[in-house]
């Protein structure tokens, strides 16, 4: 079993390398960092521009493979290079990474847990009012793009706060720099509410649909009947025997859902003015910042594959049949 997981881990490391390399190649061949120095008043001499770009490993006159080699030798030692204007990518990433991870982690957990719970509940109440309303709401949420959803949430909260006359829920930014200590922590949590909702609603809807059908498959299985025949209450039998078994397929979707989550995070960060990795990606594409784009892609690849690995772990933990073979 340990060997199996180690092998999966090794495969994932290779996949991260491939994904990050492809992202770098794409960014390096299509983006033009030179544009930032051209057309300046007063004009900058080409030799100076070349020298600057060379220093940042961004010069399009250097063959792309050579730039790639330089980038790789940096990345291997943990140095992601320089931004378009000479700043350190590592410093910037250090500032932003926790912002994004906090959002992603909470969003994923809330999305998975609530989605599974709603789906299971919906299956048990099949065709009742609760099932139908959960179903309709899920499809409505899935049909609304995340940027519309986030904007609607922000507007709604703004109106709510105005109506109340004070700020109940924060709708922009990440924290209030004037506070400190416990107040600051509470304020950070308050700031987290709205982005988390916007980010997790989609996955709640997604997981609830999957979990509902998995649960329905299991509900009429003989082993649930056996559990009740032993003398377990229906509730216990459903939770301990049915849901536990029905969780296995949902866990395999964990990796897939995470990709969508990253996209959602990009929009959410931008709309709620969080300075995370997603917002940075958009900014750096606008600024032709090759190294920053590559760094964000690297981060995304690591996240997705970590999710995939976690999903493997989860399946192995839930399903003894996988563990044995």
């Amino acid at each position: 079993m340990g060997k199996y997981l180690l092998r999966r881990l090794a495969v994932n490391v290779i996949l991260v390398a491939v994904a990050a390399s492809l992202a770098y190649m794409l960014a390096a061949t299509t983006m033009n960092p030179r544009a930032a120095y051209e057309g300046r008043q007063p004009p900058v001499a080409e030799a100076v521009v070349d020298a600057t770009l060379d220093a940042y490993n961004l010069n399009d006159k250097t063959p792309v493979l050579q730039r790639y080699a330089t980038w790789v030798s940096g990345v291997v030692t943990g140095d992601f290079g320089k931004t378009w204007n000479g700043g350190s990518v590592n410093d910037e990433m250090g500032r932003r990474i926790m912002v994004s991870l906090r959002l992603l982690l909470v969003g994923t957990l809330v999305g998975f847990a609530l989605g599974v719970a709603l789906g299971a509940y919906s299956a048990v109440k099949q065709y009742r009012f609760a099932d139908r309303s959960i179903g309709v709401s899920s499809f409505v949420v899935m049909a609304i793009p995340v940027f519309v959803l986030a904007t609607l949430l922000a507007i709604g909260t703004y109106n709510l706060n105005r109506g109340l006359g004070f700020t109940l829920i924060e709708y922009t930014g990440e924290y209030n720099p004037r506070l400190s200590g416990w107040d600051q922590l509470l304020n950070r949590l308050n700031h987290l509410i709205l982005p988390t909702i916007s980010l997790s609603l989609g996955s709640i809807a997604f997981y609830s649909r999957i979990q509902r059908s998995m649960m329905l498959d299991v509900l009429n299985q003989d082993f649930v009947r056996t559990a009740m025949a032993k003398g377990l209450r229906r509730r216990t039998a459903l939770l301990k025997h049915a849901l536990r078994t029905a969780l296995i397929p949902a866990a395999t979707y964990f990796a897939f859902a995470f990709g969508t989550m990253l996209t959602g995070a990009t929009f959410t960060e931008k709309i709620f003015a969080w300075h995370g990795m997603g917002a940075w990606l958009i900014d750096s594409i606008q600024q032709n910042d090759v190294n920053a784009v590559a760094a964000v892609s690297f981060f995304s690849a690591v996240c997705v594959l970590a999710a995939a690995f976690l999903s493997d772990l989860l399946v192995a933990a839930l399903d003894p049949r996988v563990r044995v073979s």
Partner: protein
């Protein structure tokens, strides 16, 4: 003092489906009540209603009293105190009845802990004791295994352990051995008897197998279309049935000790529970029907001797002492012309010579590597003469189906030869291959899965004709439908409009479309109900005799085989252990495995069943990936255990080959120490003859 008292139980599902109508019975301490009936007769629904496990949309009325306390209408809290404690249930399919993600030990321990306030470790210890009680070897280690790591028989044992965990007063067994092989069935029935001895519980045994009931039950309740139609002591029901349905049922089962003549089928199908006929539900199929039968449904009335019968003509049946063969029309099957010629002079239509089929056992996700070999079929030889039926029998996993697939492939096997109608399958070119296909056809086990649900029956039968470019398709389809006992107007309907028996007839018609010479039958009747099965067996026999067909017949039901086959080959772990004429093999089996197999089959005769000695085999089939050296059966062989060490050496070192046994014309045995034993005691009517 009765433990359970069921009075006038009715179960109705939405859509007016009356699944159970007026069932009443009692079970006393230590008593076994057998409930017999075909699929859809409401026998399982009855037991689920007693346990309160029916879906919430089922409407249950009547009364179910346990120790005089009413169970129907109890709230969940009260009901959970009864379930698993006073009444336990054993389900049919033990694989799906266990939660796949928990260990067997945990699941048994859970049953203990639900009703007894025991700490976890004590409950786990109790679980191991229970597993030991039901005969699971190394129970402490096996308790940590998951359900998928258990074999079918072991799972059913564990199921029994779980059911008796709280010393129940009543055990309900719903088809407990239907999914198991006969030798395993015999083991599990023994365990059930032990369980009953240990707990003193009353047992409700639900099954369609009249043989199992004969050996287990004290009293029998026969159900038809949701109603009890006859009830009484087991000996009375079997020897003097008084309801035509019971009479027909008993006459329609093939018996391993039975005489040869055609089986007596019950024509027609059970009525649909939504549109029941106004009178007796069995009337449309009953040969004794009179006009009064259609007036009203006959009630279940006492006829003396603790018997109850629901038939207005039961007095008359009693008076004239009628049996199924007297009442039901016995079909006439024309004899075969082929048998007039001695077997040696008839051409051989199918020949297998030392055929093997191995499957590689692969491991690894990206780089597959071979870690072993599954010896599915490991050097078997047999031949079939024209007009003859050879049956291939054995337990699941012995290689029967693989052999069929190898033959149907019409390709060269890994080793050995497959010769069909004188042509070696290794030498066929494309055209010859197609031509030979039309001569060799197959009928599948599951008639539901074998027919395309979106194709009208006419097209299903016409498909092979069109594939081979025949012109007279429409005429031929009509002809085929009539041949298998269906009507030409059935051609426009879809498979879902037919019952299981009719679907199997459609499958047979399709196989016959191209006038094949050899028909391969893969368990053709095992998915059918007893009363339907007899009709299909008779059809197969009639077709063989009139069309001059030869059959290769694969089955695990040895009674059906005795009835239909001329010769039989017994397989064990990819090898033939015994082969020969049916009479020789059944009456004078010489291989210990054949003997055990035959003795494991329950006879539908209570008196015989009680006195019969069974040869019980230990354990399960070894893995075909790692078969034992020498004789493959030695690990479970009762004879091997009795041999001296020097004699045993030979079984371990030397693989026995099929050798002609004694002076019999056609009887080969693969055993170093072959010795005939009579395992089927002749039934009374045979002795009379």
């Amino acid at each position: 003092m009765s433990i359970l008292e069921v009075r006038d139980l009715n179960v109705t599902f939405p859509g007016g489906i009356e699944a159970v109508r007026g069932v009443s019975y009692e079970v006393s301490r230590g008593e076994v009540l057998g409930i017999v009936g075909e699929s859809g007769s409401g026998k399982s629904v009855t037991s689920l209603a007693i346990m309160g496990l029916l879906p919430p949309n089922a409407v249950v009325s009547g009364s179910v009293k346990l120790h005089g306390k009413e169970l129907l209408g109890l709230d969940e809290g009260k009901l959970t105190e009864v379930r698993g404690k006073s009444i336990s249930m054993i389900f049919q399919d033990p694989l799906s009845a266990f939660t796949p993600v928990y260990t067997i030990g945990d699941q048994v321990a859970e049953a203990v802990r639900v009703h007894q306030k025991l700490p976890k470790d004590k409950a786990a210890k109790r679980a191991v004791e229970l597993l030991d009680l039901v005969g699971i070897p190394h129970p402490d280690a096996r308790a940590k295994s998951f359900p998928h790591e258990f074999s079918g028989g072991m799972r059913q044992r564990a199921m029994i352990a779980m059911a008796i965990a709280n010393d129940p007063d009543l055990l309900i067994c719903d088809e407990p051995t239907t999914a198991l092989d006969v030798t395993i069935q015999a083991q599990v029935l023994e365990v059930l008897k032990t369980a009953q001895r240990e707990t003193g519980a009353g047992i409700v045994m639900i099954t369609h197998d009249l043989g199992v009931i004969a050996g287990m039950a004290d009293r029998v309740l026969v159900m038809y279309a949701g109603r009890p139609v006859e009830q009484g002591r087991v000996d009375d029901i079997y020897s003097r049935p008084r309801m035509p349905y019971t009479m027909g049922l008993l006459a329609s089962i093939p018996r391993i000790d039975g005489e040869q003549g055609p089986l007596v089928p019950i024509e027609g199908n059970p009525p649909s529970p939504v549109e029941l006929p106004p009178g007796c539900p069995f009337a449309p199929r009953c040969p004794m029907k009179v006009d009064a039968c259609d007036d009203e449904e006959p009630p279940l009335v006492e006829i003396g001797g603790g018997r109850q019968v629901a038939c207005i003509r039961s007095r008359e049946i009693e008076h004239k002492n009628l049996t199924g063969t007297d009442v039901f029309p016995v079909p006439v099957i024309p004899p075969s012309d082929a048998v007039r010629v001695p077997r040696e002079q008839r051409p051989t239509v199918l020949e297998l010579d030392d055929v093997i089929r191995h499957y590689p056992l692969m491991k690894g996700a990206v780089f597959k590597r071979r870690v072993g070999t599954v010896h599915a079929v490991d050097g078997i030889s047999f031949d079939i003469a024209q007009g003859e039926t050879l049956a291939l029998v054995g337990e699941s996993g012995c290689g029967k189906t693989t052999t069929l697939q190898q033959i149907m492939q019409l390709r060269a096997p890994e080793r050995g030869r497959v010769v069909v109608l004188g042509r070696d399958s290794a030498t066929l070119n494309k055209a010859a291959h197609k031509e030979l296909r039309s001569e060799l056809q197959i009928v599948f086990q599951d008639p539901m899965a074998a027919l395309d649900p979106r194709m009208p029956v006419g097209d299903i039968i016409a498909e092979p004709l069109r594939a081979h470019g025949r012109k007279d398709v429409a005429v031929r389809v009509d002809e085929l439908l009539r041949l298998v006992g269906l009507a030409p107007e059935h051609a426009a309907r879809y498979p879902q409009h037919f019952s299981g028996g009719q679907r199997q007839r459609i499958g047979i018609a399709r196989a016959l479309a191209l006038d094949p010479k050899v028909l391969v039958l893969d368990e053709p009747v095992s998915a059918l109900d007893v009363s339907i099965q007899a009709g299909v067996i008779n059809l197969l026999e009639r077709l063989k005799n009139t069309l001059g067909l030869s059959y290769l017949f694969v089955a695990h039901d040895l009674a059906v085989v005795r009835h239909l086959a001329d010769r039989v080959a017994v397989m064990y772990l990819g090898k033939i252990t015994e082969i020969g004429a049916v009479e020789d093999v059944y009456d004078r089996p010489a291989h210990p495995y054949t003997q055990a197999l035959l003795s494991a089959i329950p006879l539908p005769d209570p008196a015989l069943e009680r006195t019969r000695k069974r040869i019980l085999l230990d354990g399960d089939l070894p893995s075909p990936a790692d078969p034992p050296s020498g004789c493959r059966f030695r690990t479970r062989c009762p004879k091997f255990a009795r041999l001296s060490q020097a004699e045993q050496r030979r079984c371990v070192d030397e693989e026995p080959l099929v050798a002609r046994h004694a002076n019999a014309m056609d009887h080969g045995v693969a055993c170093h120490y072959a010795e005939e034993i009579e395992v089927i005691t002749a039934s009374e009517d045979q002795e009379e003859q």
